[in-house]
Amino acid sequence: MYDTLIIGAGMSALAAGIRLAHYGQKVCLLEKHWTIGGLNSFYRLRGRDYDVGLHALTNITPKGAKKGPLARLLRQLRFSWDDFAISPQIGSQVVFPERRLSFDNNPELLVAEVAREFPAQVDGFRKLVASIVDYDDLTDEHQQISARAHVATFLTEPLLVEMLFCPLMFYGSAREHDMDWGQFCIMFRSIFMEGLGRPHAGVRLILKNLVKRFRSLGGELKLRAGVSRIKVENGRAIGVVLEDGTELEARRILSSAGWCETMRLCDDGQPAAASRAPGRLSFCETVSTLDVDPKQLDYDRTITFFNDSPEFHWTAPTVPCDLRSGVICSPNNFAYDEALGEGVMRITVLANHDYWRGLDEQQYELEKLRWYDRIIDSAVRFVPDYRGRVIETDMFTPTTIVRFTGHDNGAVYGAPTKQLDGRTHLENLFICGTDQGFVGIIGAITSGISMANMHCLRE
C-alpha cells in the first residue's frame, strides 16, 4: 500500500514526489514513457544532445534573492541556487514590423525600450508594471478577468499591447486570443521582471537533480508503467491498474496526466471528462545545429519573438503551421562561463494538431521536411540567415508532444480552464501540473510542491 501514487514523471510529479518522500511517505511515480520529463525532456540523436520543451527557465532571480518562485521552490525542495548552475540570458527581443522591444533580466531595459518606441505610452506602462508587482499569486483569487480588457485601461496603443502579449502567450497561455489577468501577471513577472536563464547542460541537469534527490529519499520510479485505469470505490480512489495488468493500492493519487485525461482514467464512469474542453494550442519546433556559434553570424539574442503584422494571432491554426509568428531560441546565447560548442537555433511556431496526427508515416516524414524549410524561411526574416551553416536538423510536431506527454491535442499548456485547487470529484484524487494552474518549468515544479503540501501532507 502506497501513501501516494503519482501519475507521470515530469517536473510537477518529480517535485511533488520529493516533498512527499522527504516527509517519509511511501511514494511511487508511474511514468508511461521510457524516460522522465514529459514535456520537458532530453534525448540523444546521431551523437548529439537535444532538449525538448525548455527554451529558457523563467523567473530567474540572482543567487541570494529571497523573493519569487525560484527562491521559493529551492527552499521547498532543499536545493541550493548553485545546484542548477543557471546562467542568465544575454538579451531577448520582440520584433514586429518596424518595431522592436529589447529586454533582459534588468526590468529597466524594457521600460526604456517602451519609452523609445512608444513615448506616449510609458507612463501608462509604468502604472501597469506597478499593478502587476502587487498581484499576489499565492492567493486563490486567480483573477479570471480578461487581461486584454485590463491592460487596455493602462495602454492605448494596440501595437504595444500586441508586442507585450506575444511573448507571454507563447510562453504560457492555454487560452486562445486572451489571457486571464492572474496568468498575465504571473507570466509578465516571470519573463519581463525576473528574467530568463538556462543551465549550461540544459534541462537534463534539472531533471537529473530532481530524480536523484527523489530516489535518495527512498522514492520509487516506474518507467513504461502507464496507468490504464484508476480504481474507484465508494467515492474514493483505491489504487490503479497499470497497462500490463499490475494492480497497485494507494491512500491517495496525485495525477499530472491532465484534467480530462485523468477523468477518463477513473473507472466510475462519471461524466466530468466531457464537461471541460481540452486545450488546442500545440507547436512544431525545428532544431538546427550550426557549424558556427550564432554570435559569429552577428546574432547574440537569446530569444526573438516575432510577428509579421501589427496584429498577433494566438489561436490554433487552420493550416499545418502558423508562419506569421514564432519564437527563435538560441541556447548558445546565455552568459555562460564556457561556450556551448556547436551553434543551435530552435524555431517554435503554432501548429494544427489534427493535421499532423492525420498523416500516415510516409506523409509525416515528408511534411516534416517541407515544413522545416518553411518555418526557417519565415524565421530568417527576423534573424541572420543561418541556412547555409546547418549541419544537422531535427523537428518535433504535435504528434511528438502527444507521445511524450499524453496530453489531448498535444496541448502544450493544457486546458484553458484550470483546476486551481487541484481537487476532483473523488476526495483522495488530485491533479497537478499544467492543468492545475502554473505552466513552464518553474510553474510546473511549483504546482507539484503546492498540491503535495495542500492535499498530501496535511494529516
Binding site: 541570494g64 529571497k66 521559493r72 529551492l74 527552499r75 521547498q76 510542491i449 503540501n453 501532507l457
Partner: protein, 83 residues
C-alpha cells in the same frame, strides 16, 4: 532539550530550508518573515520538520508562536524539555 539545544535545532531546520542563507546574522528578536522573507509554505515546513524529527505536533492555531527565534524557542520549551 535545553533552550540552547532547541535554538540549535531550529537553526538546523532553517539552514536545511534555506541553504544559501547566512544564519550567523540572524536576530533572535526579529521575525523570520522579515529577515528571511519566509512565506506560509516555509512556516509549514518548520512545523513539518519538527514533526518529522521530534514528533512534536503543533496545531495550526499555534503557528503564530513561530514568528521569531525567541518566540519559537519559548513556545517549544515545554514541549521539548523532556526529549
Amino acid at each position: 532539550m535545553t533552550t540552547t539545544d532547541i535554538r540549535t535545532e531550529i537553526l538546523d531546520i532553517l539552514s536545511d530550508i534555506a541553504p544559501d542563507e547566512d544564519l550567523t546574522k540572524l536576530n533572535d528578536e526579529e521575525n523570520f518573515r522579515a529577515q528571511m522573507e519566509l512565506d506560509s509554505m516555509d512556516f509549514l515546513d518548520i512545523v513539518m520538520e519538527l514533526r518529522k524529527r521530534h514528533r512534536v505536533q503543533i496545531p495550526e492555531d499555534d503557528y503564530v508562536h513561530l514568528a521569531s527565534m525567541n518566540s519559537t524557542v519559548k513556545y517549544l520549551e515545554p514541549l521539548m524539555k523532556d526529549m
